[in-house]
């Protein structure tokens, strides 16, 4: 079995945004989802570079969709997370969860017991 790929912070954000969007994940919607959830608007250059790099690593797959008039007749490039991508993001989130245990950073019911 191959070890899960280590992800950077922005790669995790992009993968989670794609997972949230499901079949509607393309450049504009991914950027809007990240902006809505994190409050920061990623630069298009950084977003496309990250998507291309993750596709090269096999973390996401892309395919061309339909062309629409408001895009000047240009097709959308849709993205979906691969099994390897999902494994990588789950692995990264597990590591975060382990580190968060016992810390009361989020307050109230989010505080977890210390058994890490």
């Amino acid at each position: 079995m191959k070890a899960p790929v280590n992800l950077g912070e922005f790669e995790q954000i992009v993968l989670l945004a794609i997972l949230r969007l499901g079949d509607e994940a393309y450049g504009v919607s991914i950027r809007a989802e990240i902006s809505a959830c994190t409050g920061r608007e990623p630069a298009p250059g950084a977003l496309y570079t990250t998507l291309d790099r993750m596709e090269e690593k096999g973390l996401v797959r892309s395919w061309m969709g339909e062309a629409t008039p408001q895009r000047g007749g240009r097709a959308k490039r849709y993205f979906a997370v691969s099994k390897m991508g999902r494994a990588a993001v789950v692995n990264a989130q597990k590591a975060y969860q382990s580190l968060l245990k016992g810390l009361n950073l989020l307050g109230g019911s989010h505080a977890l017991s210390v058994d890490c």
Partner: protein, 262 residues
């Protein structure tokens, strides 16, 4: 729409036709709220994000690649001069190490230090440097041979690393052959336009030829740039090849358990 067509043409230089079209489509869609200034800033940003690593890698490899080879040559013959059969062997190791340093400098900037080729190259360069700087000490030679055996053993268990290691001799061969290719323009120029110097230049030839020194430096940098471009081209092609995977990773489906995570 004319702006979009121009942006499309620009982005096709740094990305494929379909990718460029989809990027421009995305930027057109967002620019309906953000405006044309944002659109053009974004186009410049996308181009910069895609080429800065290659550009920086090419510039630094051109400037420092030859210096590294030259430095290794000095290191090999500085204190202990090999006179027996070890000399040709060490010469080959020096050439191998020099071109690998050259390619590693470019690849480390272009693909990052986690790239398999960069890691393999670092390992071989470390072994070669050990031999170049301490070939006359038996302990160093034994350690280098053991380290190289370990490197070969690691190759046996990883397909990606094997592919990356296959790139190493290819890069060296390309670098060596492109040395002759890079020198060709100046050789042709010399025979056509400086007929009084059909042979190699010596220090005395500079006397009375003020522009000759400038010409030689220009020729040297043209040669280095051609060598760097050739090495970079091989690194790009082999990186693409080593990263290509068999098409057996299915797309995620709803509700599918992630069995291979834990």
């Amino acid at each position: 729409m004319r702006s979009a067509s121009i942006a499309d043409w620009i982005l096709r230089r740094v990305a494929g036709k379909e990718r460029a079209a989809s990027m421009v489509g995305d930027l057109v869609e967002i620019s309906q709220q953000k405006g044309m200034v944002w659109f053009w800033f974004s186009v410049v940003g996308v181009v910069a994000a895609r080429i800065w690593r290659s550009a920086l890698g090419l510039i630094l490899a051109t400037c420092y690649g030859f210096s590294i080879c030259f430095m290794l040559s000095g290191a090999l013959f500085a204190k202990h001069y090999p006179t027996d059969l070890r000399r040709p062997v060490l010469e080959v190791i020096r050439i191998f190490c020099g071109y690998l340093c050259w390619a590693t400098l470019y690849s480390a900037i272009r693909f990052g230090v986690r790239d398999r080729f960069v890691q393999s190259s670092f390992a071989v360069v470390a072994v070669c440097l050990g031999l170049i700087y301490g070939w006359w000490q038996p302990v160093v030679v034994v350690c280098c041979i053991a380290a190289f055996a370990g490197f070969v053993a690691i190759l046996a268990v990883s397909r990606e690393r094997r592919r990356a290691a296959f790139t190493l001799p290819l890069v060296v061969a390309t670098g060596y052959l492109s040395m002759y290719l890079g020198g060709l323009p100046f050789t042709i120029y010399r025979y056509l336009f400086i007929p009084e110097f059909p042979r190699y230049f010596g220090p005395r030839d500079y006397i009375g030829h003020a522009t000759l020194e400038r010409l030689v430096w220009t020729a040297l940098y043209v040669q280095l740039a051609i060598q760097t471009l050739a090495i970079a081209a091989v690194c790009e092609i082999m990186h693409w090849w080593s990263m290509s995977k068999p098409k057996n990773d299915q797309l995620l489906e709803d509700g599918e358990p992630v069995a291979d995570v834990s």
